[in-house]
């Protein structure tokens, strides 16, 4: 499965690169300045404050994600939605959300958020036991609401700036700091899983872990309603970038 994915990545990347080449060798007609240009409207306050020096790269990634969604991700998600009944999907979502509680837990501790740490620990214990390994979420019905913390937020409380806007492959809109946060959280998870080695006795632990990672990705995509270019709006990239930044504004610093 993994090798297949890598192969697809390379093929898609190559295809995107080649289409880029094919399109760039046309047109030599002289350009004529338009009737209106942005300089006329420089007296207004700008709306976007997102630092986006890698826009060209980001737009390439944005396009790649669209193609990846279209040819790989969404067909798999559609298949998943067709094959599995609704309660299984909820169970899968709960299961992975429960595993992510660990991430929230150590990050709230790193940020010295006492109450959040306790709620998260309580949730994790309750859902892992009464909730049968996290398949159910009884903790929410006790009034313990799910918290969201990750290393990106930890870096933020430590005073690290967000850094430039960055569109990640498959994962989508992000920032440089968020990407480092993801890397750290990913490394922690990898370290934990390999020290416990829960599937060690099966003799196929790496395959099982790979399958679990894929299932988690499918679950996340299944719960995300956003579809690239669905708005058909020519400036969608900028709208998404703006909304991404605003949403971060809303959910942080509360």
């Amino acid at each position: 499965m993994f090798r297949y994915l890598i192969h697809l990545f390379i093929t898609l990347g190559l295809a995107l690169y080649l289409t880029g080449c094919a399109a760039s060798n046309a047109h030599i007609t002289a350009e004529i300045p338009p009737m209106h240009t942005v300089s006329e409207f420089s007296d207004d306050e700008s709306v976007s404050h997102t630092h986006d020096p890698w826009e060209g790269f980001n737009k390439g990634m944005y396009k790649f994600n669209y193609q990846f969604d279209r040819f790989v991700f969404l067909p798999v998600v559609d298949g998943y939605e067709t094959v599995t009944p609704g309660f299984v999907q909820t169970g899968v979502s709960n299961f992975f959300a429960n595993i992510r509680e660990i991430r929230t837990l150590y990050n709230s501790i790193l940020q010295a958020k006492g109450k959040e740490s306790l709620v998260t620990l309580g949730r994790f214990l309750a859902n892992s036991t009464i909730g049968i390994g996290g398949l159910f979420d009884p903790a929410t019905s006790f009034g313990w609401r799910q918290q969201h913390e990750d290393f990106d937020r930890t870096l933020e409380t430590w005073g690290v700036g967000t850094g430039p806007y960055l569109v990640l492959p498959v994962l989508g809109p992000s920032t440089a700091r968020n990407a480092s946060g993801l890397a750290v959280d990913g490394a922690v998870r990898w370290a934990v899983v390999s020290s416990i080695d829960p599937f060690g006795e099966t003799g196929a632990s790496s395959e099982i872990e790979m399958g679990a990672t894929t299932l988690e990705a499918v679950d996340l995509r299944h719960r995300e309603k956003f579809r690239y270019y669905e708005s058909d709006y020519p400036f969608e990239y900028y709208m998404v970038r703006y909304i991404f930044s605003e949403r971060r504004e809303l959910t942080t610093i509360r």
Partner: protein, 425 residues
């Protein structure tokens, strides 16, 4: 005594029925026309529907050669919800800048599907996808030309589904600009008779495209610094909303949040109007840009420039956001049609983009009806009276609801469906 009491109880039970029938106690709750337009109808006042309609997105492939930056556009996207038995089929036309999956279209689809119709929804001719794929001129806004494009699309879609669904007869409805367009499509259908629509419904239509657009653009005159300061205005409103959100215990930016903000009078009337105009600007920015690229018009993009996917469009975004629909009309639209028809005056064109240009047909055609609101601000002074004069009993006016705010309100939806089902008005 017992009989008297029973009669009293029956009378009490009947009371709400009497009350509902009377416009004086129309219970759509939002008095302010801008508030209604922004908020729409609270969830608990919408019709209760059992289950979801099987809405599917379809693509009508076109052979238009597309510029590279529109690589994602694979054909005209429309939505359908079909019954599994013989049923009347209604075409819906979306309002300015909207696609066939906009919330209002989906709301109409759900309700009409549950009322037993096959439903096919089309994007507005001002929607970039339509401009790129289905518009012959790629210059939207000319009502009779847009009607021809819409009609062609409807025929193609009907051909796609021939033999797969059973249709008893055809109907047509549109809201906002889509309502005005529905009238022009209906007139075209009288000549071509492909669908022979049995009923045509215009929901909160514009009477004159030019007047309505002027009125919406005019809402920006009330913001500090006027239309040239839309960016500063937008930032201020966003800051207010963000602060309000942070102070309250909201779970997300949803209806609850919006209603709470409304009740707290977060925005004054000028600001509410400004936000409506800004959202209109956001739509028109996409429309202007798509049209300019498709025609190589040299309006905001240099003529002959071939845009690549990696090119930044941010400056074009900012420029088009600051151009009003009236700039587009005067500097781009009028010259384009004058170049095709020398001697055509600006005034003649404005006249042509109005229901007045097909008034004779509208007055005499018994199948066309209009539903609108007393406080719909896209109508210029006198235009409501004009509708009354032309449509007479085929016009229904609700006392409030702004521009389409009450579309999803129970009474409105029930009335609308009842009109579509009945043989006469």
């Amino acid at each position: 005594m017992k009989i008297a009491r029973d009669i009293l109880i029956i009378f009490l039970l009947l009371m709400p029925a009497f009350a509902w029938a009377d416009d004086a106690v129309y219970r759509y709750p939002i008095d302010d026309s801008y508030g209604a337009t922004i908020l729409g109808t609270p969830q608990n006042l919408r019709p209760e529907l059992s289950g979801k309609a099987p809405v599917k997105t379809m693509i009508l492939e076109t052979d238009q050669k597309k510029p590279e930056i529109f690589f994602y556009d694979r054909g005209l996207r429309y939505t359908v919800a079909f019954q599994d038995r013989k049923a009347p089929l209604i075409f819906l036309i979306a309002g300015t800048g909207s696609g066939s999956k906009s919330p209002k279209v989906l709301a109409l689809m759900e309700n009409l599907y549950h009322a037993g119709f096959h439903v096919i929804a089309l994007p507005s001719p001002t929607f970039p996808n339509f401009i790129i794929d289905a518009s012959t001129s790629h210059v939207p806004g000319n009502l009779s030309e847009d009607a021809v494009d819409l009609y062609r699309v409807m025929e193609k879609i009907r051909d796609q589904f021939k033999g797969r669904i059973e249709v008893s007869h055809f109907l047509l409805a549109g809201y906002s600009l889509g309502g005005t367009e529905a009238a022009f499509v209906a007139k075209l259908d009288e000549e071509r008779k492909v669908f022979d629509f049995s009923k045509v419904l215009m929901l909160n239509p514009a009477v004159s495209l030019y007047n309505s657009v002027s009125r919406i653009e005019g809402l920006l005159d009330g913001i500090p610094g006027g239309p040239r300061r839309v960016g500063a205005f937008f930032n201020r409103v966003m800051d207010k909303s963000t602060n309000f959100y942070r102070k309250g215990a909201f779970v997300g930016v949803d209806d609850d949040f919006l209603f709470a903000a409304y009740q707290a009078q977060l925005l004054d009337r000028d600001e509410a109007g400004g936000i409506i105009a800004v959202s209109f600007r956001i739509s028109s920015a996409g429309m202007i840009f798509a049209s300019d690229v498709m025609t190589n018009g040299g309006y905001v993009v240099p003529r002959n420039k071939v845009l690549k996917n990696s090119d930044s469009l941010e400056d074009y975004f900012w420029t088009t956001l600051h151009l009003s629909f009236l700039d587009y009309f005067n500097e781009y639209f009028v010259p384009y049609f004058q170049s095709r028809r020398p001697g055509l005056s600006r005034e003649e064109l404005i006249e042509a983009l109005s229901l007045k240009s097909i008034e004779g047909y509208l007055a005499s055609s018994a199948k066309i009806g209009v539903i609108t609101n007393e406080d719909d601000f896209i109508l210029a002074p006198g235009e409501l009276d004009y509708l009354r004069r032309v449509f007479g009993p085929r016009l229904k006016v609700y006392p409030r609801g702004g521009h389409l705010g009450n579309l999803e309100y129970r009474d409105n939806m029930a009335f609308l469906i009842d009109r579509l089902r009945s043989a006469t008005w």
